[in-house]
């Protein structure tokens, strides 16, 4: 009578699609460019898989065949994470309201 965890993950996936739909429609058009860069950054959370892969298994041979791909993925994802969040930050910092004292 146990439910397969896959079903739960599927539920989470489907519900998140709904949230994505609503959340993105509520983004103001003037911030669509930062939206693209920030989604870029957050989709690099795939780095968690890369870390697990890199640290996997026996710690003697650090760079075996499977681990090496993990390390490569870490570099790629890290570029994206830092690059994505920082460039978003840089863009968002530019959006200013009219100052009162003018």
């Amino acid at each position: 009578m146990e439910i397969d965890p896959f079903i739960f993950r599927l539920s989470i996936f489907i519900l998140s699609i709904f949230i994505g739909y609503y959340v993105v429609w509520s983004v103001t058009p003037s911030l669509h460019t930062p939206l693209m860069s920030v989604t870029n950054a957050i989709s690099s959370v795939i780095i968690v898989g890369a870390i697990i892969a890199a640290l996997a298994g026996n710690s003697e041979i650090i760079f075996n065949k499977a681990n090496i791909f993990g390390y490569l993925a870490i570099v790629l994802a890290a570029i994206n994470i830092f690059g994505g969040f920082l460039v978003t930050q840089r863009m968002l910092a530019m959006y200013k309201k009219k100052r009162k004292d003018k």
């Binding site: 699609i17 930062p34 870029n40 890290a78």
Partner: protein
Amino acid sequence: MSANLLAVFYLISGILFILALRGLSSPETSRKGNLFGIIGMAIAIGVTFLSVGNFSSGFLYVLIFILVGGSIGSIIAFKIPMTAMPELVAGFHSLVGLAAVFVAISAYLNPEVFNIGSTGNIKIASLIEMSLGAAIGAITFTGSIIAFLKLRGIMSGSPITFLGQHFLNLALGIILIGLIYYLCKTQINTWFWTLILVSFAVGVLLIIPIGGADMPVVISMLNSYSGWAAAGIGFTLENTALIITGALVGSSGAILSYIMCKGMNRSFFNVILGGFGATDQSSSEKGKEQKPVKNGNADDAAFLMKNASSVIIVPGYGMAVAQAQHALREMVDALKKNGVKVSYAIHPVAGRMPGHMNVLLAEANVPYDEVFELEEINNDFANCDVAYVIGANDVTNPVAKSDPQSPIYGMPILDVEKSKSVLFVKRSLSPGYAGIDNDLFYRDNTLMLFADAKKMTEDIIKSL
């Protein structure tokens, strides 16, 4: 760290990502949103470290690699000019795609670590999720590379088409499905590597027939793909944060593509099947040149605007090309000092990516409450004295309303034609992205200012 606690932390980081996107609903909350995103990422990475718990020398290497990647990313982020955002986003996508491929490969080679079976005996469900993730990731990777090259101008933007192209793509698609099927059945490594290689090829083939100008839609589409790839890997790794994020990014890209297609009044398939923007511009250019055009200079423009009571600025792709946003801002400041009411009108697909113009104006310190969307401002053109159209073309073309034959028919446009006079800053009479002539150039109340947008704007400032 127990599996349960770990799952809770991944859930929290997924929710922080939702809040990050939610923040973008207004500029005020957006910075906090970005912070949420960063915290979410830090939590995800942090708990992953703790969960592996193996603080061996490998751990040190991981940190080093993160630092290396992080430094590269940070340098890019600080150095990149705002006008290069479209290609930057494309480049970043390719990295996500490749990272997804790499993670899938590690999972395939080392399934025990991910709790999905043992080498040669991986759970079927995980294998399907993994190969989907790898295939979509690979397509995202090569597709984004092509998009990047086209946007950067390294590769020609014109569509590359050949006989039987769609047929070839279809065949490759079927082969992909077959490969996944056989991979699951036999778990032979060759199928896995072939799958990835074929997906790389598909990525290239899908994007080359699409014209350079259609790349923005392609970028969002690839954004969406990278999300689905991440979600696929998330299922394999049984990681909630990845599943939530994948779904978020997947819908986000899809919706942005939809918004762009809607803004251009084209169907998504029309874009994807390619061939648009195959530049028959030459044909439309000739035979039109003889029509009379009113040609002005900076002094005329300055005179007109100084004496206007309200001016609406309509920026377009040309402003980005000419990097004219700072000059424009100065011109507006000068006009305001003269008591002229100035606002900016942004068409949803002005420029080459959604929100392109807004970022550039923000960069030039234009307050965002002076910048209006199409629906907000379109009625104001009727009461405005001068529309200053700088490097925009298609988004003002009234043919979208009048000629059902035109490729942009039905696209909502900014009604600049209703304002008392229209100033067009562009370098020639050549058409814009859609390759069609703009009737407005030949109207009586239009004054053409043939020059580079930045140069002309600076000249106007001088005469003001």
